[in-house]
Symmetry: C2
Subunit: 130 residues, 2 copies
DNA sequence: TAGTATATACGAATCGTTTCGTATACAATA
DNA sequence: TATTGTATACGAAACGATTCGTATATACTA
């Protein structure tokens, strides 16, 4: 065990792109990173990080062509869940409700989203009656 | 501006202790850190980190006695809010509802907490009728 | 007072992430 | 074929967080 999946913030940005876009080249990822940001990131920087992510098992790659194609090797929900768990413990000492209250209080949420969350709560309450 | 408050995980652990316990000495903090953990941390390590936190403005200290007393200089809710914002963007691309759903789905929440959250949602819905 | 325990200060080693310069390979083209 | 553009590979610098050894000051105690 002890298989800690713990992407850094930089790695997470790359994962977000791959989750959304699917298999991509380093250049595509790098372009998107530079689009969506204030600062600019050199091509070899992105390449290096993606190579390291590959070594860590976060990405897989097809190197049958000169231009390698990278794909996320980890599922979005799984990573989010792991990060959330960690964050919850680090910042809220594990109190999910405290986090939830602050989340809903501080951030704009659409009526639809609120309804969705409420529905989930209703369901949780039903399944756990006692 | 550009007054980024961004405690590291290690710093956050110390803040948690100070938030809970109030003003404390380095030794007290270090003891609690070692109590509540698997790994052990040297005294001078904790001292160093707290000194750095002091320089960053995260802590204030009373050095009128030989044994200095440290106090959290930042409010718990404020730090949590800033961290949550960052985390929400990094891991969920800003979708609070996605985070909320995963949070409530994955973690055990007591009926009381669920009720509390539902009450907040009701209130949010009332205040934002259209 | 001499010796021991405990405090802070300082500086350096280590570690992981991020960054990029440079070397090298390969492909397209003039 | 020689030039130019674009890949990957490699290595090292820079940076921040963490860790701790050691020096020094101070208090306690035998």
């Amino acid at each position: 065990m002890a298989n800690e999946i713990r992407p850094t913030e930089g790695e997470l940005e790359i994962l977000q792109i791959l989750w959304k876009k699917g298999p991509s080249t380093v250049r595509e990822v790098n372009d998107l990173l530079n689009d969506a940001q204030d600062k600019s990131i050199g091509y070899t920087t992105t390449l290096k990080i993606m190579q390291i992510m590959f070594e860590k098992g976060l990405l897989k790659r097809d190197d049958s062509q000169r231009t390698h194609i990278y794909t996320a090797e980890v599922r979005e929900g799984k990573i989010q869940s792991a990060l959330l768990d960690r964050f919850l413990n680090a910042a809220y000492k594990g109190s999910a409700s405290k986090l939830a209250l602050q989340l809903l209080g501080n951030h704009k949420t659409t009526p639809d989203e609120l309804a969705e969350i409420k529905a989930l709560i209703d369901q949780l309450e039903k399944n756990k009656p006692s």
